[in-house]
């Protein structure tokens, strides 16, 4: 999708670990207010892409233009400050801290106490289960609750762009539905989201646009519903 003035424009991104190159020549764009989805087999490099965008690993080549500023190779905390929040794979909540403290960490860059309180109210209205567990140690939450906390924590930053890495991974069907409902609600509110999902069907139904990643390169791209109808996608990613 070539879209001038998209919120996020990735050009020729190369990422890797040590001597191995995992992602090469990646072009991708996320327009303001859109949900863009990244799907691909295990090991295709989806998590690596998100880690590269949020600065957890260095870009070896290429540009990450966010609001037309190149964020490639900026430290992760600077990228967070620029307005990108990343709910990483495996949730990565602070298990020894309370739910409330996890939310406070999400609002680490919040400009004022009043603003933090406002965001906290919004997060708890979105995930009422968390409200009952504010004083509990986050590590004691169920997997589904931890995922809600991870998303709520990312939203506490009130980000311009939200990166979600497999929010439905390892969850019971009931929780998967709840997470996807929450993502749909975020979309309705006009949030901009880059979503990585194994659950390709649900993700493509929500996505305005989607990219299929195959061994570090984009193999197919197009509007979500269009990809849903493509037989090669159905074969490879939608369980036949």
């Amino acid at each position: 999708m070539s879209m001038n003035g998209a919120l996020l424009e990735v050009r020729g991104l190369e990422l890797g670990y040590g001597r191995s190159t995992v992602v090469e020549g990646l072009d991708l764009s996320v327009p303001e207010g859109a949900i863009v989805c990244l799907i691909g087999a295990n090991g295709a490099g989806k998590t690596t892409v998100l880690r590269g965008l949020s600065g957890l690993i260095r870009a070896r080549r290429g540009a990450v233009l966010f609001e037309r500023t190149d964020l490639a190779n900026k430290p992760a905390h600077r990228i967070a400050r620029a307005g990108i929040a990343h709910a990483p794979e495996g949730r990565q909540i602070f298990g020894e801290m309370t739910v409330s403290e996890n939310l406070a960490m999400g609002a680490y860059l919040s400009p004022s106490k009043a603003e933090t309180a406002r965001r906290r109210e919004g997060a708890l209205a979105r995930f009422p289960r968390l409200a009952e567990r504010m004083r509990q140690r986050a590590g004691l939450l169920s997997g589904g609750e931890q995922q809600m906390l991870a998303i709520a924590r990312a939203l506490m930053a009130d980000p311009k762009l939200l990166l979600l890495d497999e929010p439905s991974m390892g969850l019971a069907p009931l929780f998967v539905d709840e997470i996807f409902r929450a993502i749909a609600a975020l979309k309705a509110e006009g949030r901009t989201i880059l979503l990585v999902e194994q659950n390709a069907h649900a993700a493509l139904e929500l996505a305005d646009y989607a990219y299929v990643l195959e061994t570090g390169k984009v193999s197919i791209e197009g509007p979500g519903r269009e990809l849903l109808a493509r037989p090669e996608i159905a074969d490879a990613y939608l369980g036949g």
């Binding site: 949020s54 600065g55 957890l56 430290p75 992760a76 905390h77 967070a80 400050r81 929040a85 990343h86 990483p88 990565q92 909540i93 602070f94 298990g95 020894e96 801290m97 403290e101 406070a104 960490m105 999400g106 680490y108 860059l109 924590r153 930053a157």
Partner: protein
């Protein structure tokens, strides 16, 4: 007699607790085994000695020594460990690097300052003492306990009630996730290094005052004792470190008073070994929990 032993034990124990607090902070948040910690203890004691020798009152010598020890810690941490942390080197690497650095630093210190035992100038502290019923507590002891309590309360409220403290605890658990929240983890690490170095330095001054004996290698035995205390307290557990520090101080005093002062230094380790048999997570640790 018993009461007086316990009072003396609590005084030494409060300095131990302070020392252990800095160590557990460094270990828990920075996630490295840093053996240079005992060096800050010795540095603090010597700096206070120098300041006192130059005529500074203890109210100036103590904070000055603590602050400078904190700065030394920041510099050493940067020189020795930045690179290891960035490459996520195994803990054994930081152990060896800091062990080597510590040996070097102690030798350099002995060469520079001499290895004989030095004492604070007479009259640095008021010689008075208060009577608590049948017991005696000296002005020096009140200073030691007061400083330890003040600094511990300060650290506990910093960790529990401030944004920086929250970031420190987050960093202790997960540095990537902390960065994603917008925490400049390098800057927080420098603050943690400073705080732990300052706590270690302050403890060095206090122990120097309590025993009135300062030598370059004083940090070495103390580091071992410090590790025993923080393992007893449950690694990374601040309250545990404080309680275990006091406990070891009291047991040492009782051992010296009722058994023999020969065994005094060993009692902390004996307690450690016995405890680990029964509770591998330490006296106050939660099973499975590792860090603050």
């Amino acid at each position: 007699m018993l009461g007086q032993q316990i009072i003396n034990g609590l005084v030494a124990g409060s300095a131990y607790a302070l020392f252990a607090l800095g160590l557990t902070l460094m270990f828990g948040v920075l996630g490295v085994v840093n053996l240079t910690y005992g060096f800050y203890f010795a540095v603090g004691a010597y700096l206070a000695l120098l300041a006192a020798g130059a005529g500074a009152p203890i109210a100036l010598a103590l904070p000055l020594a603590a602050i400078l020890a904190g700065l030394v810690a920041v510099v050493l941490d940067f020189l020795l460990l930045t690179r290891l942390r960035r490459t996520r080197a195994p803990e054994l690497a930081s152990l060896m690097v800091t062990l080597g650095a510590t040996l070097f630093l102690y030798s350099a210190m002995s060469a520079l300052l001499g290895s004989e035992i030095r004492r604070f100038p007479a009259g640095l502290l008021d010689n008075g003492a208060f009577a608590l019923g049948a017991y005696r507590i000296s002005v020096g002891q009140i200073l030691i306990v007061g400083t330890a309590v003040l600094l511990s309360l300060g650290l506990v409220s910093l960790m529990g009630a401030t944004r920086t403290g929250l970031a420190m605890r987050a960093l202790a658990e997960n540095s990537d996730a902390s960065e994603l929240m917008g925490v400049d983890t390098q800057a927080i690490m420098r603050r943690v290094s400073f705080l732990s170095g300052a706590l270690g330095g302050a403890a060095g001054v206090l122990i120097g005052l309590e025993y009135n004996a300062i030598a370059p290698y004083m940090g070495e035995a103390m580091t071992l004792k410090g590790f025993a205390i923080i393992i007893l307290g449950g690694l990374g557990n601040i309250g545990g470190a404080l309680a275990a520090g006091l406990l070891v101080g009291v047991l040492e005093a009782l051992t010296a008073g009722y058994v023999s002062s020969v065994y005094k230094e060993a009692v902390g380790f004996l307690l450690l070994v016995l405890t680990l048999w029964v509770r591998p997570q330490g006296l106050f640790g939660r099973p499975g929990a590792r860090r603050a």
